[in-house]
Amino acid sequence: MSEEVLQQASPGLIPGAGTARAAKPTRLSPSFISWLQAGPMMLVFLAFFLIPLVFVVIVSFWDYNEYQLLPAFSGRGYTDTFEGCIAQLPDLCTIGRTYVMTLKLCFMVWAITLFIGFWVAYFLAFHVKSKTWQMGLSLLCTIPFWTSNVIRMIAWIPLLGRNGLVNSGLIKTGLINHPVEWLLFSEFSVVLALVHLFTFFMVVPIFNSMIRIDKSLIEAAYDAGATGFQTLVNVIIPLAKPGIVIGSIFVITIVMGDFITIGVMGGQQIAAAGKIIETRVNALQFPAAAANAVILLVITFLIITMMSRIVDIKKEL
């Protein structure tokens, strides 16, 4: 084989070619390459996430009037938000009631999604033996996540509405005489829709934890005489805990900040932490909106810190 052909086929093989490349002064250092590779994503987060968060905090201390922002220090965003909180004691003020409501929704959605998510993940991880079926069924659970949330909310209207399927079914069977009103545009429909939309965020991390559990541990528990329930409580749940915590963090933060589902499914009647921010923005009271955002951020952060005490997130991913 002539050297020329070899050179074309694989340039690195010819001794001269290799050294020529190595000798090039433009050889990049590994850390510089890492910067080039990770830099663009870092810039996006800097420009559209970190700096905006800083602006939220800054603007929350600005003043405002009916139509514009006034860049001067003021606590008005916060004092307006907590207006009447001390005067009305022992009753809760508006912001207090709103947060109680939000936390209540949060807790209900968390409990239900955890229950459903745990058993769905359990079924997929332990009962579905064939890899193909596991893939197929996981995909079945994932596809709705790739479709529109609003559509999945609207989808409940023909079922739960005054003349919807559920009501007409109940009337036909004679269980009720008049359509039930609380099915739609109520707390019930908000919780239902949130569970419908976000159980996925519970299933995925719990499934990931469960699939990594060594099956021989379960057999060992069984051989040692543990009942199914004992195995579940003493082996599976502790080992699936990281997934449970990560899933819980996702669901809780989503519900804490949600304003769209609560708006659409609550008939724009239910107050929640995210909705206050939206209302303030629509009224162009940006410092008040920002102050509410800071409060929400602090509360969310506290919840996450408490939960991540239980598990090291970085190790799990």
């Binding site: 590779q37 996006v44 009962h127 529109s148 399927l165």
Partner: protein
């Protein structure tokens, strides 16, 4: 297992089936209802079957300027998809070596995923308002706004899609065998050749998965767009606006059309992934086959 399935299998299988029904049932209901007859209402029973409402949507005589919003959402979705794929693959490669600021990037991505969307959205809108005010004050009094679909809107969507892209890259490289790259290097491949001819073909199915996430999450994005998109609306924003006013199946028709796009993209992506996997299985490795 030869002993047959335990009873808990059947209980949980029924539970799983009920969950799937709960996931898909309502969606299917509105797809069916969007084919109501012209006299049909918002609920069952169907009042005849027709494509009246869907046709009305495309004639543009309906509720919103569907065509324009459709094109905007599609454009934004495609750009978000491309940027998400490129930046995620690049950053995923970087994470295979240690580098400074690694954990800053990691925690930024996780935070961006879990900080409530409304806060991110508000922050971006404040940022752009302040930029606008600065431009108006110092350079150009007639300046309108720097907010828009492909500035603040694109950024808002990326804060949602990039974390998913990065996490998928982590999952890929957890399973990736670095010996394949060493082999390529030993054979004299340059870093770029190693990436282009060894790494990329192996990770390609998952990269298409990242693209799928990028497009579909942007196509349906609502919470982050709400404050940050500027004067124009995307399709999901139009749809949300309709939820409080519409009293006929228009809204279902629009929902069906939006979903049709989602399902087409999902099918295309999954089909491509299946095809690539098949080809990899057929041609991929001849290890252990001996010399022929």
């Amino acid at each position: 297992m030869k002993e047959g399935r335990p009873r808990s299998f059947y209980v949980l299988a029924i539970f799983f089936a009920a969950y799937v029904l709960f996931l898909y049932g309502p969606m299917i209901a509105i797809y069916v209802l969007s084919f109501q007859g012209p006299q049909g209402g918002l609920t069952f029973p169907m009042n005849g079957v027709s494509t009246f409402w869907i046709a009305k949507l495309f004639q543009g005589t309906g509720i919103v300027d569907l065509g324009a919003a459709f094109r905007r959402s599609l454009l934004l979705g495609v750009i978000v998809m491309i940027v998400t794929v490129v930046l995620s693959v690049a950053a995923g490669m970087a994470f295979r070596r240690k580098f400074r600021a690694q954990s800053i990037l990691f925690y930024s991505a996780i935070a961006s995923l879990i900080v409530p969307s409304i806060i991110t959205s508000l922050g971006i809108s404040l940022e752009f308002r302040i930029i606008d005010d600065l431009i108006k004050a110092h350079w150009n009094e007639n300046f309108e706004t720097s907010m828009g679909l492909l500035t603040s809107g694109l950024g808002a969507h990326l804060t949602w899609t990039l974390p998913f892209g990065l996490l998928i890259m982590f999952a890929i490289f957890n399973r990736f065998d670095p010996r394949l790259e060493e082999a390529a290097r030993d054979l004299g491949a340059t870093p770029w050749q190693t990436f282009r001819h060894v790494v990329l073909p192996i990770i390609l199915p998952s990269v298409i998965g990242i693209g799928l996430f990028g497009f579909t999450l942007s196509w349906d994005e609502l919470a982050r767009s709400s404050q940050a998109i500027g004067a124009v609306n995307t399709l999901p924003l139009d749809l949300q606006g309709l939820t409080t006013t519409v009293t006929n199946p228009d809204i279902y028709a629009l929902g069906t059309v939006i979903s049709a796009v989602s399902f087409t993209v999902i099918a295309l992506a999954l089909g491509t992934i299946a095809m690539l996997n098949k080809r990899q299985a057929a041609k991929g490795s001849d290890a252990g086959q001996g010399l022929v």
